[in-house]
């Protein structure tokens, strides 16, 4: 046994000198040292295991970091209390302090044992580690410990026995275990708080209790307190332990103390009312809506607006002839109906549409944007000799009407009134019907045979035609008395009285052709100027207005807008000119979608395929097939009629039907 002194001849030696003496003694073979310290630093550490076992007894004024970097095989016994950082970075030494340790005991310790007979200061057992190569570090405190105990503890076992604590209300001090990630703290007694975010407070398990009992005896023996054995092992229930949550457990524990939903239920709504602060003011529930919605929750909805807008050909035609519908009938294979349809608008189709008319419809035709307009003049020519399929007899509630003038306007008016079921008397001053049309024949613009065919069709209808029957004032009054309605369709009527106002040789009429005498209408050259087709249109519209008056209904002149080109999807039709084959070079037509005719002779049927069908559903099923949600269904209404219907519970309002419709039928509107 070697005795070393920190004070030699009344003079304190430095920590370095004492350390050199210790290391030299060990090198000389000493294995038991007794050191009388005087504040020297780091006594008993760094004694390499090759000297082991070594026992170091220390007494006196022990400096800081007793046993710092202690090694396995070193046993240090302090015979009185020690200063700060006892066992700092302990790597295996067994250190017994028969008194108190001050701050920072076992700070950063990794292996070894610290037995404390008294209590610990602040920040004891902080930063302790556990290296799996070695047994875990142990720190034993008999009384209590100071603040910030076991901060950032990563391993090792701390035991605080709580015997005669200095602070009996809180034996682990203020805020222990902050940042603790590993190891165990066993304690016996009351504590105030601990870092609940990081560690959990648990009862001891059987294994814990077994470990404590096994290891408590050597500890009590080392600090000479075996007489407390019974008290400390009285019951497992006197003890608790703190262990760190594992990273997985921390992840699982929400960092939120309370879910917002819970806060709403338990605190918010009880104070502000059911449904929250806006609950009383909001009708719609607060339940979440997805971004993509259906039904009433869509922002926009598509609408199948068939014929809501006019095809340019119709809008342009002064006679209002719906050429696009004729092409539709042709596509449906209703050849006769298609050609006859024109007769509902003009009794002079072959003469006018087919020959005399400059065909304004063709100038407007959307198809011209793609290649060339449809041959609508050809349709007029093709209707030569057609007979109107509908009944030409007067209906029971038909009225008596007179038409004065057998020119284009008068013929159109009389024809239309006849079609509406009225008993019509036509007064023509000359010997033949047709008026100015005969000038065109004389000018060679149209063959007389064509005109005569058209006129013959009119004559054959149930009209009373009074040729050579000029109307003077007296005759007019007679006609006025005998008829429910009159249409004046002679260019320059000298026979009417002042009750029907005129200006500059024209009869003044309202937008429907009605004169100031409400049952008298004036059409054609009597009211305005224009091409033959304008005269025909004027006659027809005047007749329809008169019909409305007589039948107590309302006549509405055409008010629909023309569909703009941009609403049409001309892309479908873009390459038909010079088209030489079907898909992939085969001659077969496409399986789905519009049929594309090969180049060839122009016939009404081939033109019908070229027709874009502006604003009139082409019945191509594109929308039905495009819709990702199967929200669109075609419904057959019979007799060639159909409609496309939308299921709002499936529709998300994406607009694919709108964007892909070739004819501009589907339109988006605000879903209000």
């Amino acid at each position: 046994m070697i005795k070393l002194f920190g004070n030699i001849d009344g003079k304190r030696i430095s920590s370095r000198e004492l350390e050199e003496k210790i290391q030299a003694s060990l090198a000389d073979g000493a294995r038991h040292l007794e050191i009388e310290a005087q504040g020297q630093h780091g006594i008993g550490g760094r004694i390499w295991p090759r000297y082991a076992p070594v026992k170091v007894m220390v007494r006196g004024a022990i400096g800081q970091r007793l046993g710092a970097m202690g090694m396995f095989g070193t046993e240090i016994v302090a015979e009185n209390g020690a200063s700060d950082d006892v066992g700092w970075l302990n790597c295996g030494a067994q250190i017994t302090v028969l008194g108190d340790v001050t701050n920072g005991a076992h700070n950063a310790g990794a292996q070894g044992v610290l037995y404390v007979q008294g209590g610990g200061g602040a920040r004891c057992d902080t930063m302790t580690k556990h290296n799996p190569r070695f047994a875990p570090l142990q720190s034993w405190y008999f009384r209590d410990v100071g603040d910030s105990f076991a901060e950032f503890k990563a391993g090792g076992i701390s035991v605080v026995c709580g015997v005669n604590p200095r602070h009996s209300e809180n034996i682990l001090g203020y805020r222990p275990c902050v940042g603790m990630v590993g190891g165990t703290v066993y304690f016996r007694g009351k504590i105030a708080d601990y870092s609940e975010q990081e560690v959990q407070l648990l009862e001891l398990s059987t294994q814990d209790w077994e470990w404590l009992r096994v290891n408590l005896r050597p500890y009590l023996s080392a600090i000479d307190r075996l007489d407390y054995w019974a008290e400390l092992t009285r019951s497992c229930d006197d003890w608790r332990k703190l262990i760190a949550y594992t990273p997985a457990e921390k992840k699982k524990r929400s960092s939120r103390r309370m879910a917002a939903k819970e806060f709403r239920r338990r605190h918010w709504e009880p104070a502000v009312g059911k449904g929250g602060i806006f609950g009383e003011m909001i009708e719609q529930p607060f339940t979440l809506l997805p971004f993509v919605t259906t039904g009433k929750d869509r922002r926009f909805r598509p609408v199948w607006n068939n014929e809501r807008q006019l095809a340019p050909c119709v809008a342009a035609c002064p006679s209002d002839i719906p050429s696009h519908r004729r092409f539709q009938l042709l596509r449906q294979g209703k050849h006769r109906e298609a050609l006859a349809l024109v007769l509902e608008y003009s009794p002079l189709a072959a003469t006018v549409c087919g020959e005399l008319c400059p065909n304004i419809c063709m100038k407007a035709c959307s198809r011209k944007v793609v290649d060339r307009p449809l041959d609508i003049k050809g349709l007029g020519r093709a209707s030569r000799g057609m007979i109107i399929p509908t009944s030409t007899t007067a209906t029971a509630d038909g009225k008596k009407v007179a038409v004065i003038g057998g020119g284009p306007a008068g013929l159109a008016a009389a024809w239309q009134l006849m079609l509406q079921g009225h008993t019509v008397t036509l007064y023509e001053a000359s010997a033949r019907l047709g008026g100015k049309l005969w000038q065109s024949v004389e000018q060679g613009k149209v063959q007389s045979a064509i005109l005569e065919e058209d006129l013959a069709r009119i004559v054959a209808a149930k009209l009373v035609i009074k040729r050579n029957n000029p109307v003077d004032r007296k005759k007019f009054d007679e006609i006025h008395r005998e008829n429910d309605g009159i249409i004046i369709a002679c260019g320059a009527p000298g026979f009417i009285g002042p009750e029907i106002h005129q200006e500059k040789g024209k009869i003044l009429v309202n937008s429907q052709g009605q004169t100031h005498d409400l049952k008298v209408f004036a059409v054609g050259a009597a009211v305005g100027r224009g091409l033959t087709t304008h005269l025909i249109g004027s006659g027809r519209r005047g007749a329809l207005a008169l019909h409305a008056l007589l039948s107590g209904s309302q006549y509405h002149s055409e008010a629909r807008n023309t569909i703009p080109y941009v609403k049409l999807k001309l892309e479908y039709f873009a390459f038909q000119r010079g088209e030489c084959a079907g898909p992939m070079g085969t001659a077969a037509p496409l399986e789905k979608g519009p049929t594309i005719p090969l180049a060839g002779a122009v016939t009404p049927a081939s033109e019908a395929q070229r027709c874009i069908s502006c604003g009139l559903c082409r019945d191509c099923h594109i929308c039905e097939n495009t819709c990702h949600y199967q929200a669109i269904t075609r419904r057959d209404l019979g007799a060639g009629n159909f409609e496309y219907v939308l299921d709002p519970t499936r529709c998300i309002g994406c607009g694919f039907c709108v964007g892909t419709c070739p004819c501009g039928i589907w339109e988006m509107e605000e879903n209000i």
């Binding site: 910030s148 902050v178 940042g179 960092s255 939120r256 103390r257 309370m258 879910a259 917002a260 939903k261 806060f263 709403r264 918010w268 104070a271 502000v272 929250g276 602060i277 806006f278 009383e280 009708e283 719609q284 529930p285 607060f286 339940t287 979440l288 809506l289 997805p290 971004f291 993509v292 919605t293 929750d297 869509r298 922002r299 926009f300 809008a315 342009a316 407007a364 703009p564 080109y565 941009v566 999807k569 892309e571 479908y572 390459f575 088209e579 030489c580 084959a581 898909p583 992939m584 070079g585 979608g593 495009t626 990702h628 998300i652 994406c654 607009g655 694919f656 709108v658 964007g659 892909t660």
Partner: protein, 551 residues
């Protein structure tokens, strides 16, 4: 009859004029239409595309044609329907087939005045450069010299005082029987201890019901569960009657502004209030659009808003740029503070909020002479708004840093720097550095800061950025449901989730503030005006703000 020239693109814009260009990948698209269904501006629409290939195979020139018309999603080149880059299309796309891309060469503003109507929008100043606040660094770190604190372990007291802090000798107190008591007839100015980051005024109306309620609930939660005393300003649009009569009112700052919307309801609720509000803010200006009044466009004035504000539905609600019955600064400030203080028996701090301006010092000097003035909030040019003309947003206003600094130094000269607290707003957290910006302003002299846009971005995923992304707030078409009154849109937003995110934001900010202040050695008091802690690598900024130049 429409001219066919429409199809010849005369007068049409190219997509390169547009601020965002849609990148659509035909190969990925399933044509499900989710993107076009959600686009807030209908900038994209389904259409068709025709493709044609003439080829020949074999050894002869025998032409054959492949022809295909397929569905596409295309961007509309109509300036009224410009893509705002919100990327909701990308959000809902199941195939990652669509994404808007910012076009730095756009000529948007040349065209966004169709019909002679200047471009208006929401959001804030478009300036993607680094703000002054983000250039400031915290350069005084306690390294061994003074005990540096550990933000994780040390206990902090991150609180600030909102209210007039009179020096002890100025307090109307007297010593009686060894105890300090209020002197008869004296009034001790009301002061609230709050978290130094507040939620600035955003009105019910500007915000959707779930957004406003989410913020409000988050604030209540922070106070009651997390013990972080965050307060929130109502903005100028009143408060829900239920909140006015609840115990949570104490966390809210009702705002009174030149439109006085909702104030009749607040006054009616006065006798039924069980708590005083945290404070009252008198709004004189807004940093985002100084000198421009508030505006809630008619299509946001739906039933709920009409009820709370006490106005008819579907009318534009304008707050004039000035309070109409005040003719001088003295009158404007004194009269308003007096009236509003009186409403709550002088128990509630009342302070004005002004837009950042060179004339801020004049207002400040006036306030220092007014014993009832509780604070001053200055809102800098980087603040945001729900609706303003683009020119006001982009070109009007004063940066907050030097404005706040000037005011603080003026208070220092008068020895009143701790007496009249300054709150700074406008661009705090603009680049997401909320705590750092707040700390920088505190070191420059602010007692606290306000946030607005930041909380929308962080708590409700607002798309807006400094390149004018989205910014549809004024139109009521917010795709996130934050600034809309359309239930189909605002029901996309979960108030509970907003509340949770508000809590996250403030908990995070608290930790981050500690991470700034702890290394500077401060824990128990906010380092208000501790400008020696700041440095900046720009000598001009350093000189202007009187902080150290570091490089």
């Amino acid at each position: 009859m429409e001219s066919a020239q429409r199809l010849d693109h005369n007068g049409e814009l190219t997509l390169l004029e547009f601020p965002f260009i849609i990148r659509w990948r035909e190969d990925r698209c399933s044509r499900c239409g989710r993107c076009t269904a959600v686009c807030p501006t209908r900038a994209i629409e389904p259409s068709v595309m025709a493709q044609r290939l003439v080829y020949s195979d074999g050894n002869n020139s025998l032409p054959a044609t492949i022809r295909r018309v397929s569905q596409v999603v295309r961007q509309v080149n109509d300036i009224a329907r410009h893509c705002v880059g919100c990327a909701t299309c990308s959000l809902v796309c199941p195939n990652m087939a669509i994404m808007p891309e910012y076009n730095p060469n756009h000529k948007f503003l040349f065209h966004k005045n169709q019909g002679g109507i200047p471009y208006a929008r929401g959001g804030r100043r478009n300036d993607a450069t680094t703000s002054t606040l983000d250039k400031l660094k915290f350069t005084r770190i306690s390294m061994i010299t003074t005990p540096s604190l550990d933000a994780g372990r040390h206990e902090f007291h991150l609180r600030t005082l909102m209210g007039r802090n009179l020096p002890p000798e100025a307090l109307p107190l007297e010593l009686a029987d060894g105890l300090l008591r209020p002197r008869a007839g004296g009034v001790i100015p009301p002061v609230r201890e709050i978290f130094p980051i507040r939620i600035g005024g955003m009105s019910i109306g500007a915000l959707s019901p779930p957004m406003w309620e989410g913020l409000a609930m988050g604030v209540a939660y922070l106070n009651e569960v997390e013990n972080i005393p965050v307060v929130m300003c109502s903005g100028e649009g009143g408060l829900p009657p239920r909140l006015l009569r609840s115990r949570y009112l104490k966390y809210f700052i009702p705002q009174i502004a030149s439109g006085y919307f909702g104030w009749d309801e607040i006054i009616h609720a006065l006798p039924e209030m069980i708590e005083d509000p945290a404070a009252i803010e008198i709004k004189y200006g807004q940093g985002a659009k100084p000198g421009d009044g508030g505006l809630l466009m008619a299509y946001k004035v739906l039933k709920l808003i009409a009820k709370i504000r006490g106005v008819p539905m579907y009318v534009d609600l304008a707050s004039p740029p000035t309070h109409q019955t005040k003719y001088s600064i003295e009158e404007a400030v004194t009269k308003m503070i007096q009236s509003v203080s009186m409403a709550w028996g002088f128990r509630v701090p009342v302070y004005p909020k002004i837009a950042g301006t060179k004339t801020a010092l004049a207002v400040l000097n006036n306030l220092t002479r007014n014993p009832y003035a509780a604070a001053l909030t200055i809102d800098g040019e980087d603040g945001a708004t729900g609706a303003a003309y683009h020119v006001s947003l982009d070109k009007m206003g004063h940066p907050i840093a030097s404005n706040l600094r000037d005011c603080y130094l003026a208070l220092v000269k008068q020895g009143k720097q701790n007496e009249l607290p300054l709150f700074a707003a406008g661009g705090v957290g603009k680049e997401a550095n909320l705590a750092a910006n707040a700390a920088a302003l505190i070191l420059l002299g602010a007692s606290g800061v306000d946030i607005g846009r930041y909380i929308m971005q962080a708590a409700a995923e607002c798309y807006g950025d400094e390149r004018n992304r989205c910014n549809l707030c004024n139109l009521g078409r917010c795709p996130r449901g934050i600034t809309t009154q359309d239930p189909r849109l605002y029901r996309r937003l979960d108030a509970d989730r907003v509340a949770e995110r508000v809590v996250d934001v403030f908990k995070t900010a608290e930790i981050e503030l500690k991470k700034v202040f702890a290394p500077m050695g401060r824990s128990t008091q906010l380092p208000i005006g501790m400008s020696d802690g700041l440095g900046v690598a720009d000598p001009a900024i350093a000189e202007r703000l009187q902080i150290s130049y570091v490089c």
